[in-house]
């Protein structure tokens, strides 16, 4: 049987929206439980760190370029560069490294 593309689209949109909106609307009070508060406090840092490494090295054509950009971005961020600056300079770094003939 063939499926309707618009029903597919509706399912994707509905499931994705419900996942996001249910916690936002059902949890209206401040959570007082220390464990849950601490857990939720740590979640974003752990998620973002896990998503960045090693995925950043796998995203570029040359893993070395991704690795250099990774270290470069950490140094920039440590020195207090903004989101935009770190992001753009990381891209430029990958571009420059991959221009080098011996990287291929």
């Amino acid at each position: 049987m063939t499926h309707n593309i618009y029903i597919y689209m509706l399912i994707m949109a509905a499931v994705t929206y419900l996942i996001r909106v249910l916690p936002l609307t059902l949890i209206r009070k401040e959570i007082t439980n220390t464990f849950i508060r601490s857990f939720l406090y740590y979640v974003p840092y752990v998620t973002l760190a896990a998503m960045t490494f090693p995925a950043m090295m796998d995203a570029t054509d040359s893993p070395l370029a991704g690795a250099v950009a990774f270290v470069f971005a950490i140094i920039l961020a440590w020195k207090g560069a903004s989101l935009f600056v770190v992001s753009v300079l990381s891209c430029i770094m990958v571009f420059i490294i991959e221009l080098m003939p011996f990287i291929r």
Binding site: A13, L40, A77, S82
Partner: protein
């Protein structure tokens, strides 16, 4: 106190790197959509209504395979389950006197990146900051997907390669400053990266989808950290 329009403008400003990264990633997503037989306009609508990279990737792939509706629903749930955690965290960030309708609107835009900058705003979150970031990045995401379908592989590969790290650069810019201030966060960031590396490279775990791996790593490490290093009320605010 920030006015709504100041918050909105700040959100747009901080949304620029997100938009650039989204554009590049969405472009590659569009190529996947095209392979699955989804048209440019349909993929634009999917991106505008989902704003989810892994979820959409899974969705397009399943559509290409003519999968059952229930299968698509379950896989969308699995691929996007981390948003459940992010939304739980974000629910604590709003002021209690904020109008309720904002929770429904913000819910549309809980992506990893928009969440990342929204949760790191000092103090309470003004929803207009999130709207500003979404106003520039969600269109970039949707248009990027559309163009990916239309133009396929027109962009030179070295440009695509360079653009593909933009998102990660931004993630780093979000997690490093708090790591500098707080040794526990710094330690968690390092541990998470090491565990993620092992999970990606060891064959046994590599078979698990990236989304599921991320959920697993996040839940385990955050839970252990919450037990070992509970935060007192003031700190966790």
């Amino acid at each position: 106190m920030q006015t709504n329009s100041q918050a909105f403008r700040k959100g747009i400003q901080h949304g620029v790197p997100i938009a650039l990264g989204y554009f590049a990633v969405a472009f590659t997503l569009g190529i996947v959509a095209k392979k699955a037989g989804v048209t440019a306009l349909q993929s634009f609508i999917v991106s505008a209504t989902n704003s989810a990279s892994a979820g959409e990737y899974v969705g397009f792939t399943l559509i290409g395979e003519n999968a059952a509706y229930i299968e698509l629903a379950i896989m969308t749930l699995v691929a996007n389950a981390r948003y459940l955690l992010l939304s739980c965290a974000l629910s604590q960030k709003f002021s209690s006197d904020m109008r309720f309708i904002h929770r429904f609107i913000v819910g549309w835009f809980v992506t990893d990146e928009i969440f990342g900058i929204s949760i790191s705003v000092p103090g309470r979150l003004n929803p207009f900051y999130t709207y500003g970031a979404a106003a520039i990045s969600v269109p970039a995401w949707s248009i990027g997907t559309y163009l990916g379908v239309v133009m396929g592989n027109v962009l030179p590969p070295n440009i695509v390669s360079a653009l593909s790290v933009g998102l990660y650069g931004m993630f780093i810019a979000i997690i490093i400053p708090p790591s500098k201030r707080d040794k526990i966060i710094a330690m968690l960031v390092v541990i998470s990266m090491v565990v993620s590396y092992i999970a990606t490279r060891v064959t046994l775990f590599a078979a698990i989808s990236p989304g599921t791996r991320t959920i697993f790593i996040t839940v385990v490490i955050s839970a252990v950290a919450a037990i070992l290093f509970p935060r007192r009320e003031k700190e966790a605010a």
